[in-house]
């Protein structure tokens, strides 16, 4: 029984980070109807950002968060202008392919530079023990930071002018334009935020597991599953979706061979896409007009 509880709690802890990663995709999707396939590369960038800052520049581990966040924002805005701006309004396929091609370029450059060697960031944090089971301190810290970031994002979106502008553009771009909001700049900002979220989640994942330049792919797939579970375009839903996925993984592993978890995850993914396109939670944020 304790074993099951331990699995569930641990699943939730790690799941929250998956949720953070998915929030990046969800935000961009919700605001501008673009599926950001550079997401995986940005997660990896966050991981490497952590590694370089901690190992080469001697930062304390969690102090790497602000630089990664800011860098993510800037990179995201740049990416918007390079690959996405011309694709707004065109069929989603086009932005899918343009972001995908940028992803290829980034991963290619990454492998050329760092090969596919495994990188590891040593983080020692005392964990919480419950009987025979231990919750690693890193997992707990990552979940806490995720909550903090999600909270900050909420405050930004609902209590600051730029944040409200983002929500306005997401709801109805023409109307926002009409009331004088510089929509293009807002879109760039939103994209930057999405990428920043990806980068930060990558940084947090880097504190949990070793990684290579190619690790982003698996997390990108997980992000998609989570985003769909939580409802596309709904960042809060993404966070909850992440927790749900973590919960599912925690609940299922004691009962079935671990190798079957992936099968169920992807089948769930397809089923939810077909049957519940609004996600399992059906929360609305904000209402889309047209």
């Amino acid at each position: 029984m304790i074993g099951l509880l331990a699995s569930i709690v641990d699943g939730l802890l790690v799941g929250s980070v998956y949720g953070l990663a998915a929030m990046g995709i969800s935000l961009i999707w919700g605001v501008m109807d673009v599926i950001n396939l550079t997401h995986g590369a940005m997660i990896v960038a966050g991981m490497f950002g952590l590694y370089l800052l901690v190992n080469d520049a001697g930062f304390p581990v969690y102090a790497a968060l602000p630089p990664v966040l800011i860098a993510g924002l800037l990179v995201g805005i740049a990416l918007y202008w390079i690959a996405v701006h011309r694709m707004i309004g065109r069929p989603p396929l086009m932005s899918l392919l343009s972001t995908f091609s940028v992803n290829l370029v980034l991963i290619g450059l990454g492998t050329a530079q760092w090969g596919t060697v495994l990188f590891n960031v040593q983080v020692s944090l005392p964990g919480l023990s419950l009987g025979r089971y231990t919750f690693p301190g890193t997992h707990i810290m990552a979940a806490v930071l995720t909550a903090v970031i999600a909270g900050v994002l909420y405050l930004f979106l609902f209590h600051t002018r730029p944040g409200k502008a983002v929500r306005a553009v997401s709801g109805n771009r023409e109307a926002a334009e009409l009331v004088g909001i510089p929509t293009t700049r807002v879109l760039a900002l939103a994209f930057g935020l999405g990428v920043a979220l990806a980068g930060v989640s990558g940084m947090l994942i880097g504190t949990l597991f070793p990684f290579t330049v190619l690790s982003g792919d698996a997390y990108q797939l997980k992000s998609f599953v989570v985003t769909v579970l939580g409802g596309l375009g709904n960042p809060t839903g993404a966070l909850i979706g992440g927790l749900a996925l973590g919960l599912f993984e925690g609940l299922s592993t004691p009962f079935m061979p671990v190798s079957w978890t992936l099968v169920f995850e992807f089948v769930l993914f397809v089923v939810v896409l077909i049957a519940f396109p609004g996600g399992l939670l059906n929360l609305r944020w904000p209402r889309r007009a047209g």
């Binding site: 069929p91 392919l97 290829l104 290619g108 397809v270 896409l273 396109p277």
Partner: protein, 321 residues
Amino acid sequence: MILRRPFFWIVALVIVLFAVAPTIGNNVELRESLLLAAVYITLASNLNLMLGYTGYVNFGSIVFFGLGGYFCVYFISALGWGLAPAALVGGAAVSAFALLFGLGILRLRGAYFALATIGVNEAVMAFVTNFTPWGGGTGIYLSTALFLPLGGPARALWTIYYILVGVMGVSLYLSYFIKISKFGLGLLAIGQNEDAAAVLGVPTPRYKALAYCVSAFLPAVAGGLYFFKGAFIQPTDAFDLQFSTEAIVIAMLGGQGTVMGPALGAYLYEQLRGWLLTSDTFANFQLVIAGVLLLIIVLFAPGGLMGWLYGRWPRLKKVLE
């Protein structure tokens, strides 16, 4: 009459070139390179049925190739079938599977559909990795004895090559005949504006499902032949998403929605990739160059090569397709 259209003869010429060129001087290296090109052309052509005609992006189209490979290899190694029945029945089985799945996921539009196809591919790969009769994660190995009915490995490689060239040819012709048929017209209408097409009487769900099902058959057969030739199949090779994304790049590169486009794109891409793979300086830059190419096409020339050609020489539209 079909025989009067120049395009028919162009495709025939391509097939003959593929078949004859490597025989000059027993050029096995060329044969291997053309074999990969033929596989890419088959994949891109059939992908084009969905992508270029109906506008639905099948990101996970590799699942047909992989499943076809598994069925064929399993029939041959475990049930002792011959190559032809194994490949054909495998193709039919995968088409049936596609029809079943298609009914479900074709209800989705645009990006949702694309994501769902990725989900299908990953789910199938995860399942096969657990499926012991198909070797699970280890895969299936074929013993060299299985090549004896075909006259030994060396001759078998040639035979398989010719069959694959045939499959490629059928793919191109199929693409063409669909395009000029009423079915194809319906598909193109769906690609333009699905709701309008439905209102105007095009039976959209049925047509989409049929296109999806048809687009699965030849890649499945090609998969069966390809993995039989390699005498080894495992899940990570059979369901490699990178392969299907390359098919998309190729279809876009050549010109989606045209028949010649995927063929042209596949040939060029395969040459480029082969060169990149063995060039010392660029071996690591393969992905980068593929990415840059795709980005340029998407941003500036979404019609691909054919689109550019048609733009410069509009008269070509009468000759090529």
